[in-house]
Symmetry: C2
Subunit: 335 residues, 2 copies
Amino acid sequence: MSNPVLVEVQRGALTESRHRGSLAVVDADGATVLALGDVAAPVYPRSAVKPLQALPLIESGAADRFGFGDEELALACASHGGEPAHVAVAARMLARAGLDVDALECGTHWPSHQPSAQALARSGGAPSALHNNCSGKHAGFLCVACAAGVDHHGYVGARHPVQREVKAAIDSLTGIGVSEDACGIDGCSIPTWAVPLAALAHAFARFGSGQGLAPERAKAAARLRAAIAAQPYFVAGTGRFCSEIMRLLGVRALVKTGAEGVYCAALPVEGLGIALKCDDGGTRAAEVTMAAAIARFLPLPDEERAVLDRFVRPTLRNWNGVEVGGLRPVAPLAG
Amino acid sequence: MSNPVLVEVQRGALTESRHRGSLAVVDADGATVLALGDVAAPVYPRSAVKPLQALPLIESGAADRFGFGDEELALACASHGGEPAHVAVAARMLARAGLDVDALECGTHWPSHQPSAQALARSGGAPSALHNNCSGKHAGFLCVACAAGVDHHGYVGARHPVQREVKAAIDSLTGIGVSEDACGIDGCSIPTWAVPLAALAHAFARFGSGQGLAPERAKAAARLRAAIAAQPYFVAGTGRFCSEIMRLLGVRALVKTGAEGVYCAALPVEGLGIALKCDDGGTRAAEVTMAAAIARFLPLPDEERAVLDRFVRPTLRNWNGVEVGGLRPVAPLAG
């Protein structure tokens, strides 16, 4: 089965590149509102489920015990750019639990936010695990382990109690018990369990609305949603799609990117969840697809729609700033 | 028409992503040896034709007049990483023509070679147009203009005499007069004319063998091939696919990457040209496809084949260095 072309890249008079993919829009009852391509095949959700992976941080009582506010909770759901403010909050989360950077098992990379990487180099510094885009999530995992009084070493392993809690939360929200075999290792070394897009979208519809969730879980989801809406900068960073979209739409859209072209979203007011994957793993096409899906399903005043449209049809500029082309969603996505 | 899947990305037990594309392998007579997908559709060749774009630098006499050796000629064909040695040679080329960085019209970006970018930041520096991956090609264009005594200002424009020479060379090698309408603007602001993959592969078969070319053009192509084979580092840089493949194979393979998943190659001994495009523009899949095509059409001793196979089936490692998956070519590419 061949997934449809969802996004085209134009340059001059020609379509230069094409991205195929699949997309599921599902309501909190599990009814499919839109399905493009194969939405039943298992997909590694990667970082797109970080908001779901953060549920144990609240449900375990760890977030309260360590006095976490919106910044910490947003960073626990983040794929951040390693900007100084991101690094500072990650360090603060660890310190509250009596830990430091050495406890992180996510690995080290330079900040993806280029000005921050350049400033770090200019100061003679080098990156630490705090700069890893997942450091907030990992700090959250460590806090869950500490609050539960379990040894945090090896917390990234699929058999560690923290990852069992995380898997249980995702299984419960998606409504399916994901097979232990359908497991990959993520960039930050934690397990990523493959889930069909339709089930992922269903999970985000529930996460966004609270519908069908136990009261404590619905409360935890609402608290994470509020934190993310209040501090979208801490979920990604300067100029990043997730942060910009949520700065524009606030509580009306929760969006989260994952590696290899995955994107998930909740539209709480509409009671909808969205999950998509670009076949080839391309982030640029996943962003356009998500923007187009939001534009189609979220009623917006003209002014906000005009801002959103810049993400639906982004322009491409060359090194001299000359517009040379752009991306655009294609039917049937454009609706 | 849907191009076939050429490359799969594995993680754990699942195929996580898939790249479709098209590939043409053609001999110097224009006979198709292998065609996968649509090889008749026009494709912007982008930087993959830099070796062809450098022909006027030699044929005009500019390379001799300015005393260019292998390093300069290889850099004129390069998409380099902005490493210090690349920048030094680009500056030297300009100086020979009595010009400096201010004459470059390619725009500025940070070195793509990350250690070089970090070292530049650490020194308190900032990038110039010399760090642009195309600075060697642009220095070559400027030298052509200077040698011909034409005003170099605006040399990136499609109507400038330098670009007319470049287009004439490509038209001649591909054997087709590319329509003026099938023109996009490249990342470095020069025109990129769309050519079918089959014609691009034919051009590289001719460029690699000299067959069917006028004696002066065959000589110019041979000189560029020799320069590239002698100095593959200057065509890309440390750890880059083009440089590593040519360091391994020397005069037996000339390979050149282009943006948006284009790759071209000549296998001079076999008399073959290769041109491919990954539909989605993904470089990682274009590299695997090129490596697989070389492995299929170039007879190699076991030891070299084992080295090449690391590019045919590269592994993916996460931030802790753990192997989490890999890329692999799929039938019919694997042959």
